[in-house]
């Protein structure tokens, strides 16, 4: 690293800041991926015709959307080891972010499913698609397309919320900028730098999101109001 950034205090700090940004990207990507993996079954539970499954889906959303993320992170990091499950900080943070965002993403995704006309499900079944195939090939792609902007909203919220993961010992962008400020006492410079990096990451996320939307919309006519 020092070969590239040099050894002056300033370039050292910049290098540390960028490593922190990398950690922030990695932990929120991991959290978002885990979140989507959990969100899909939770969403299907919420949409289920079985009352018990629906109640479980509602309970999941209500708990993880109602309890502050900070508390959830502390539970994962401090309570799970007490049960004999010792997690490294990065994994604990990714799980904490993932289980929380899953509650929001399940609801965003559910909105996408609700607008699919009922006839499509019937038609797929009439063509002999199984329930799983109907979901995989007919329903999920359309729900993803419709809900994409709201899913990106939540991904950006989680990226910003990931600044909390320093409380469980992850050296993310927020933590390393605090460390640098503690050393050279230039809060405006480094916190502005951190803010700009967060903004740039979010812009990239938004651009990727709209590229994904365009891909998912292939074959759709453009809606003109």
């Amino acid at each position: 690293m020092s070969a590239f950034f040099g050894t002056s205090p300033l370039s050292q700090s910049v290098a540390i800041l960028l490593i922190g940004a990398g950690t922030t990207i990695a932990v929120s990507l991991a959290g978002n991926a885990l979140g989507l993996l959990i969100a899909v079954p939770v969403c299907f539970m919420r949409l289920s015709q079985a009352r018990a499954a629906r109640a479980m889906g509602i309970a999941y959303v209500s708990f993880f959307r109602g309890v502050p993320l900070l508390v959830q992170l502390l539970i994962v990091y401090y309570f799970l080891p007490a049960l004999g499950l010792d997690l490294p900080p990065f994994v604990a943070a990714a799980i904490g972010l993932g289980v929380c965002t899953a509650a929001y993403q399940a609801e965003n995704l559910r909105g996408g499913f609700l607008i699919i006309p009922k006839g499509q499900n019937d038609a797929a079944r009439a063509f002999g698609y199984t329930g799983v195939q109907t979901r995989r090939y007919i329903l999920i792609p359309q729900a993803l397309r419709a809900a994409a902007p709201t899913l990106i909203n939540e991904m950006i919220l989680i990226l910003k919320a990931s600044s909390l993961v320093s409380v469980v010992g992850v050296e993310d962008l927020m933590r390393v900028s605090q460390n640098i400020v503690a050393r050279d006492l230039r809060p405006i410079r480094w916190y502005m730098a951190a803010a700009v990096i967060y903004l740039v990451i979010n812009l990239a996320l938004a651009l990727l999101g709209r590229a994904a939307e365009r891909r998912l919309s292939a074959g759709y006519a453009r809606v003109t109001l």
Partner: protein, 226 residues
Amino acid sequence: MSAELSLITTYGPQLLEGFRLTVLIWLLGSALAVTLGFVLGLALSAGGPALTLPVRAYVEFFRGTPLLAQLFLAYYGGPSIGITLDAFTVGLCGLGLYGAAYFAEIFRAGFASIPAGQLEAARSFSLSRRARIRYIILPQLLVLAVPASTNLLIILLKDTAILSIVTVPELTFQVTGMTLETFTFVEPFAALAAFYWALTELVAFLGRRAELRLGVYLRPEMRGAE
């Protein structure tokens, strides 16, 4: 016991005032966010590049930076460019402008989810643009938008706690002050968390009721509400 009672009589009015302010600022801020968000979402969906570019920049700025940073900028940075606002105004407008960026994307998703054929049909029936939006688009758009909006209203409710940092005397501000004066921490903050949780449950409940009403004609067997 008597000590606890005196706590209630001493801090009761203050906490009640904080509660009132939290609810007020959340309701007004959300109303601003939804209204502005709808207009911005409409602009993103129907406008030309001259309109969508500035709106896109607005959305990416307010969505891409933390609410706390925006509040600091307005509250402490505002006076240096001649804009001096009181904490309540900064908090209310901050929450509204921040939320509007997310609502714009929710409504854009809603507009994009209407099948193009429906709008062609509506146009060939010579429905005006206003009528197309009111009778064709809005009822369907809301089905997609309500779960996402419920999420966002809950997020905005919890974000009102951030306003305490720019000295808006809402509930978290009052409770923080109370803990510093009385050196009791667990009970006040537990009560505070319970308050926010109860309010989020209320929002979630109202969201499910709204879905039931809006979605019932669309797919009754998959409405997913009680």
